[in-house]
Symmetry: C2
């Protein structure tokens, strides 16, 4: 597409510089289907090389800096984002069609700056490094930064998981690593505004020029080269399974860690007692959870498992009414619309039926009718893989089992998911069913919920926004939650008989902050190592 606008520069080695791009692209306004004005570069491998060299240089300096310096950068950056909140939210709205209020400006932006501030506090405090001191053997160890981190952000959180401001970014920086951010191509303008503030904050904090860099787009091949490059310490990726698994294969072959957050259908089990007790309330919670943000959450409840009976029939009818009555949200992109339609078709081919006659909105904007599909557990069990097709967006599959045994069979063939929820009676009528189903569900999800839809992902130290493969690349780590998300971007450094003054401050006898939790001879404490 021809355009007269100038192509935006990339942020490499601390300078906004013209890209030696191989081609350019434009973002699209999802509300109109029309391209937006600004032109963004697709970087070449040469540009990646320069970014990698700058990141490696930055890392060599960062390793020697006190974590307070990094914390001050994160706080200053958060302040700057807050100061420019209105402009950033407006741009994000233009590029994603997500509402400015409450979503972008009142929820996601404060979450983003909150994460940056929490990450700053975690970096300063240092407990995330799990310092372990064995005074008898004089062996000491702690987690240490792993090296430059490449961050690939998703389309659905233009701020809170933006590659240059979101969860992975905050975790990687707070852990002491430079970041090479690869913008999500559906919101390059939002990413640019954030990067402008990041660059200013880097300068203010006097961090090395290559601490934060931004490229807008890479060829698939260059993306795979990037995550496998010797100068890279590790990668955080949130996005589609197909692209993610290609990056994983490349990183794995090079022995480089990569943390992936991929697809998840987030099963929700509704036990009979719960439906009988509070069916309409659950229908309301489910509808809100499923349609919020046009369903474009990784924790969207895409699969509801019910037991056959009149309460279930009534509940489904209730949901249908609510879905019909709810406004149809706009989807993030033509690609999301295409994938959602394809997923619905795939579910239908597997035997699922529409429980409502969808009146597909014929509009310029990207959208699909609110969709509830229905299948029996038997149908599900006949084609379990296809029935687990992720319908990313405002759609969900309701599966009705004849009894608890059949429900257990459905859960038993689920792949790894981020979350699994069970609603049960507040009395003990569902206890047996819960006891039978919970162990099966527990093994297949990262976060298990009771009486709660999965879409709220609190930034809690106890959060697990992760789960068994293929929901993520590793069942052991969370992408949300501070300081829990930081260790992903670290390596274990052990010091054996190293002379006291040569130890990092964190491992010296004196607790450097007086507040850092360290495990000394098996006891977690904030105290100094006792004098002998």
């Amino acid at each position: 597409m021809a355009t007269t606008t100038q192509t935006q520069p990339v942020l490499v080695a601390g300078r906004w510089q013209d890209s030696d791009c191989s081609s350019t692209f434009h973002a699209t306004n999802p509300n109109t289907g029309q391209p937006l004005d600004d032109s963004y570069p697709v970087s070449t491998w040469g540009e990646c090389e320069r970014a990698l060299n700058a990141a490696a240089e930055a890392f060599a300096v960062m390793r020697g800096l006190p974590s307070d310096r990094i914390a001050r950068f994160l706080e200053n950056y958060a302040e700057r984002i807050d100061a420019r909140a209105e402009e950033i939210a407006a741009c994000a709205h233009l590029e994603t069609a997500l509402p400015v209020s409450p979503r972008l400006q009142d929820v996601e932006l404060p979450r983003t700056t909150g994460q940056l501030r929490q990450a700053a506090a975690a970096a300063r405090e240092g407990s995330w490094r799990q310092a372990t001191i064995d005074t008898g053997a004089n062996i000491r160890s702690c987690l240490a930064p792993i090296g430059p981190v490449a961050v690939f952000g998703p389309n659905n959180f233009p701020l809170a998981f933006n590659s240059i401001a979101g969860g992975d970014f905050a975790a990687a920086i707070a852990a002491g690593n430079p970041v090479i951010a690869k913008a999500n191509t559906s919101h390059p303008g939002t990413t640019r505004l954030l990067a402008e503030e990041a660059a200013q904050a880097i300068e203010a904090a006097e961090l090395p020029m290559g601490t934060v860099q931004l490229l807008y787009r890479l060829s698939h091949k260059d993306g795979e080269r990037l995550v496998a490059d010797p100068r890279i310490g590790g990668t955080g990726y949130t996005g589609s399974q197909s692209a993610g698994l290609k990056l994983k294969a490349a990183a794995d072959a090079a022995g480089k860690p990569i943390y992936l957050e991929l697809s998840s259908i987030n099963p929700v089990v509704l036990l009979p007692g719960a439906l009988q007790e509070r069916g309409p309330q659950i229908a309301e919670e489910f509808t809100t959870s499923c349609l919020m943000g046009t369903g474009q959450f990784c924790t969207n409840p895409g699969l509801v498992l019910l037991l056959a009976g009149s309460d279930t029939e009534a509940w489904i009818a209730d949901v249908v009414n609510r879905f019909n009555a709810a406004p149809v949200g706009t989807l993030l992109s033509a690609g999301v619309q295409r994938s959602l339609l394809a997923a619905i078709e795939s579910l239908e081919q597997a035997g699922a039926q529409h429980v409502m006659s969808p009146s597909a909105p014929e509009e310029d904007r990207f959208c699909v009718a609110n969709t509830a599909l229905w299948a029996t557990a038997q149908q599900f069990l006949a084609k379990p893989e296809q029935m687990q097709t992720e319908a990313f967006g405002n759609a969900s599959l309701l599966v009705v089992a004849r009894d608890v045994d059949e429900a257990e069979q459905v859960l038993a063939c689920l792949e790894g998911n981020l979350t699994g929820a069970v609603y049960s009676s507040t009395t003990d009528t569902d206890n047996d069913a819960y006891s039978q189903l919970e162990p099966v569900l527990r093994q297949r999800v990262g976060r298990l919920l009771n009486d709660k839809m999965p879409t709220g992902v609190a930034v809690s130290p106890a959060m697990n926004h992760g789960g068994p493969y293929p929901a993520t690349g590793s069942a052991q780590f969370t992408a949300v939650g501070i300081p829990a998300a930081l260790p992903r971007f670290s390596a274990l450094h052990c010091y054996d008989n190293v002379r006291p003054h040569r130890l990092p401050p964190l491992l010296q006898d004196t607790n450097p902050t007086g507040q850092t939790w360290r495990s000394i001879d098996g006891e977690w404490t904030q105290r100094d190592v006792a004098a002998k």
Copy 2:
């Protein structure tokens, strides 16, 4: 090779049963080069299937058991090994040629049972699970067992890293997982004796029959299938890089975690002040470290980096004398002998020279003369990859740099290693050199030592027996050290709004042991959650 002895049974699903093996093999006595009597089976995939099913069934039961039951098994198993120590050490000597005393019976066997007991204590105490409680959000999480673990043990530790008794085994079991042990084929008899005691201890502890299983050998293809099987939770592997990387590729493609401990040359930097101060003492330490166990340690000091000068020349001459004077140990197998000779040849081809005329012992036993090779840093830098060939056994490469800058260049091109050591003057004469070299070395090793050879690997909670790829598959985890080695075989389980009585005991308000360390609202404590 024809034989009249009966083929040994495998331990599958709690029963010693005849293998439906595809073929058989014999161990070899390294001291004679002759095959030993017993015949062992190469299992088929069908046998793996049965083991996998039994492991999956065992895991379903184990998840519900108190960790005390697992701890009692480990302790009972340790007792049984101690009671049979003499027989086990004798068998291990026959199969490995490692000396019964002090090595096998006085050092390695007590280390093995000590590890099992430490693992029992860790399982019972539960702090390794890093329970994290956010009372405000009512979100709680902890590490939980990951599922059946396949353990592939190495040839060089027939007891302490035996697949059915060693470090990975103890860690996997203590973390609550069943183990499918794949014996190292150089010491199947030792492994059988241990497995006999394990099976008895399983019965005594009333653990599920499939908690511990033993196969002796698999085809490479079946090994790759095993680590990628959906029933497997994860894998621990210690051994050669080539076999390990094939298993890694298979596990990675299936999204299954695999922890590899591969090769390492363990650079030792000897700074001028140290040589001047205590050259002979260091030569003695080095010789002992390099030749102990015929050098067959993953932490064997395979690369010594020195700065040119008369002290270095004297030191090398001293080492030559010591190497010549030291007895030549027996190697573990014909394969180890072959690989060592090939590695020495590869180093020679890269430009390294013998600093002593090797009088290759011409004997029936497997052995190679104690070997010290020498190269300039320039030679090293010309072929850095080939110069890092691991010579597993009683051989080491001494590299002499002209100055500290050149030494830094050598360190900068090192691959990931388990350890790196620096010897320096006890005064401050080596401080500048240390400051220049340490950051480069630090990034390339898991454990950094001062004034100490790397071969002692203490079972300490602060130990890191791990390091950057390709020394291991992940720089974040250690294979030695309890409880530090346990989290490898776990997944993060989060409970969001889950009703109190449904939480695992570890996450309930009351601290289940009164001693488990938990992080409650950011504070590590052994206390209960405070009543509101």
